[in-house]
């Protein structure tokens, strides 16, 4: 127990990084997910095809493999581009690689959630928007977007929970998140099990808090829904 208290600040520092990476990649994934969902639902064949390719490939390859491709390969790519453009040496930090890859991966999952959410918005609401003389962008921003949140929220929440757990992988590419720090602490105290238990517990706390928050948001967005 005294070891755990001694190393707790280090682990908590790692937890902060975990949360940071999770939130940043969530923003990227929501952005990509929105883009993907709109592309998939658009009439354009090219946009739909590209979005389809994106979601199929991402969901078919393990996140760890994608992360290493982007982390190792991304550096070479940046170096090659930099050489041709005459830039200074740019270092692809594990932090950037981690955030970008996780965001990129979950963008594909978000695409599916948002697509489902948009499809669930009743057609009459959208039609009414057009009847008021709104243009397609206005209809999307004012009607479809707020109305889809309720439908997309359950699977969005699910994605967020999986995303937080996926952040554990960044320790593999050398980022000092809580899993990495627990490994250090466990190595130097010769009590790895204890420290990985602590990390597991902290993950359960993150999951529990998000669960609570998601339920609150769900309640807020379901205000207008009548329940039997």
């Amino acid at each position: 127990m005294p070891e755990v208290i001694a190393y707790l600040p280090l682990i908590l520092k790692g937890m902060l990084l975990t949360v940071e990476v999770a939130l940043l990649s969530l923003i990227i994934s929501v952005f990509l997910g929105m883009l993907g969902a709109v592309a998939k639902l658009s009439n354009s064949r090219i946009a739909g095809g590209l979005a389809g390719l994106y979601t199929t490939i991402i969901r078919g390859i393990p996140d760890l493999v994608l992360m290493t491709i982007l982390f190792f390969g991304g550096q070479i790519l940046v170096n090659n581009i930099g050489e041709k453009m005459g830039w200074e040496y740019i270092d692809v930090s594990p932090f950037m690689a981690g955030v970008l890859t996780i965001g990129f991966i979950f963008g594909a999952y978000m695409t599916e959630s948002f697509r489902g959410g948009i499809l669930a918005v009743s057609h009459g609401e959208i039609e009414a928007g057009y009847a008021f003389g709104m243009n397609p962008v206005q209809v999307f921003v004012r009607i479809t977007l707020p109305a889809m949140v309720r439908h997309a929220l359950p699977s969005f929440g699910n994605n967020w929970l999986v995303l937080t757990k996926t952040t554990a992988l960044i320790s593999v590419i050398g980022l000092q998140d809580m899993v990495y720090n627990a490994g250090l602490a466990g190595g130097s105290t010769r009590k790895p099990f204890t420290f990985f238990c602590v990390v597991a517990f902290l993950f359960l706390i993150i999951t529990g808090v998000s669960d609570f928050g998601l339920r609150r948001i769900n309640k807020r967005y379901s205000v207008g829904v009548r329940k039997a």
Binding site: I61, P62, V65, T68, I76, K165, S171, F193, F196, V199
Partner: protein, 230 residues
């Protein structure tokens, strides 16, 4: 792109592929065997029976597979009891540790899938079985479990893909699975793009194969749901 390096290392990739398949199939098998009792206990009406299996499911679904694997691979050596006994012959092997972690993990997820489907069993099915005079074990064997498996198929297909993707973590603890093979090829020749993309393509093919396989199985077992052909 340096294709020659990949071609030279194809035997290594195929060995990794075999390890991955073996690892996934055996952990899914063990996991399923564990998941059935867990799901049945979790649906029990008495709280003191359902508490433990529910806690098991909550823990394994709430924490990353990587942490679970590290708990077993790095963690078990901490205990004198494990270190001094025959158990150490198991826990010092990376392969056994990965297998145990994957099996326990997929048991948690599959347990939750089965629990959900068992709870959604139409009451009429059970009632009819009871009316036919079946005993409780017989109801489980003939009605409840087959009906549950049938309805759990789509969700279980996702779990199988999830397990395949999770199995790449085995490469982190020195096992030469597909990801491990890619790591070796990369460190020997420094071809990160080619080596990892090749592994990615293998995984992609496996994923497609699983999706296709489950479509076939569902086609067979969900025959009664298909619209009639005239």
């Amino acid at each position: 792109m340096d294709i020659q390096v990949i071609i030279d290392n194809l035997p290594l990739y195929f060995r990794g592929l075999w390890t991955t398949i073996l690892l996934v199939v055996s952990s899914l098998g063990i996991g399923l065997c564990l998941a059935i009792p867990i799901a049945l206990l979790a649906t029990a009406k008495k709280k003191w029976i359902s508490f433990l299996p529910k806690a098991y499911i909550y823990f394994f679904r709430g924490t990353p597979l990587l942490v679970q694997m590290f708990m077993i691979y790095h963690g078990m050596g901490q205990f004198e009891l494990v270190h001094e006994s025959f158990l150490w012959t198991i826990f010092k092997e990376a392969y056994a540790c990965a297998l145990i972690a994957f099996a326990l993990n997929t048991a948690g997820y599959t347990g939750e899938i089965l629990r959900g489907t068992i709870e959604q069993t139409p009451f009429g099915e059970i009632e009819a079985a009871k009316a036919c005079g079946m005993s409780v074990p017989m109801v489980y064997r003939r009605i409840l479990l087959p009906s549950t498996f049938r309805r759990a198929l789509p969700a279980y297909g996702n779990e199988v893909i999830f397990m395949l993707h999770g199995s790449a973590l085995a490469g982190v603890i020195t096992i030469v699975d597909l990801f491990g093979a890619a790591k070796i090829v990369n460190s020997r020749n420094f071809v990160p793009f080619e080596s990892f993309i090749t592994a990615g393509l293998f995984y992609l093919c496996l994923t497609f194969l699983i999706v296709w396989g489950f479509k076939r199985v569902e086609h067979h077992f969900h025959a009664y749901l298909r619209p009639r052909e005239n």
